[in-house]
């Protein structure tokens, strides 16, 4: 991957290897499913919809009842922006006549970049919950594929923040 950089027109762009695109599509698809299924007892989903009143169960439940539908809808919408922009990038790559293994250029306008930013964050939160990363110092299982994916997503998100900072 070539990290995100800012372009003259205010868009940000990165270059992703074909495998990296596949990973992002797969994970984003999984998170979209999770958001739609909305299982109440899922650790990752609890992390996406945390208690607003940690010392007051009833108030937290009430808050969640009012905010969860909208939050889940918006999280689904931002996840779908990742899928649609990657699909467009793949189409552009195919049209350019480059080989099937050629890297994909992802270019995002400010609004798309904002969606990517939060969706990448949601992906990391869900994976962290699966890896048992709950307090500072937790790093997941060293060398495990999911741990490496988690770290890579952090690199992608971090480079996107830096590029957006300069836009």
């Amino acid at each position: 991957m070539r990290a995100f950089t800012v372009e003259d027109d205010g868009t940000v762009s990165a270059v992703l290897a074909i495998d990296e695109v596949a990973i992002l599509v797969d994970l984003t698809g999984q998170i979209s499913d999770l958001l739609q299924e909305n299982p109440q007892d899922d650790d990752a989903l609890r992390r996406l919809l945390p208690d607003a009143y940690p010392d007051d169960r009833a108030a937290s439940a009430e808050f969640r009842r009012f905010t969860a539908p909208g939050l889940l809808d918006r999280k689904s919408a931002t996840a779908s922006v990742i899928l649609s922009t990657l699909s467009n990038s793949n189409a552009a790559r195919a049209e350019s006549g480059l080989g099937a293994e050629a890297p994909t250029i992802v270019r995002l306008d400010p609004q798309q970049a904002q969606s990517w930013l939060t969706a990448l964050g949601d992906l990391r939160l869900v994976i962290a919950a699966r890896l048992g990363i709950v307090k500072d110092g937790d790093e997941g299982e060293p060398g495990a594929v999911m741990t490496e994916v988690y770290d890579w997503l952090g690199y992608v998100q971090g480079s996107l923040v830096e590029a957006m900072d300069q836009a």
Binding site: D51, A52, L117, G121, A128, D136
Partner: protein, 94 residues
């Protein structure tokens, strides 16, 4: 008149009770530059202020990022949850 005094006291108590805060808590997942970016873009904090609040979250475990009526604080917390940050509503220490 005693009655009026009582009413005034009651109103003052109500006013004090309506001050709430939005707290953002440390978590091991969200990147420091992301948290700082969210504080700037959502709350409109200056770069320095956003950095200060972010470091407070990181080093002290939490930071009060807004104070005001309960409904407004709940809107902020909902927005923070949208960004994936751990945020809660609490009564302000008066």
């Amino acid at each position: 008149m005693p009655q009026t005094l009582e009413r005034t006291e009651l109103r003052e108590n109500t006013v004090l009770n309506t001050l709430w805060v939005t707290i953002v808590w440390n978590d091991p997942v969200n990147l420091m530059n992301y948290v700082s970016f969210v504080f700037r873009s959502y709350f409109g904090f200056s770069k320095e202020e956003a950095e200060h609040k972010m470091l407070q979250v990181h080093n002290e475990g939490r930071s009060v990022v807004a104070t005001g009526p309960r409904e407004a604080m709940e809107r902020h917390v909902e927005a923070m949850h949208g960004y994936g940050l751990l945020a809660t509503v609490a009564k302000a220490d008066v």
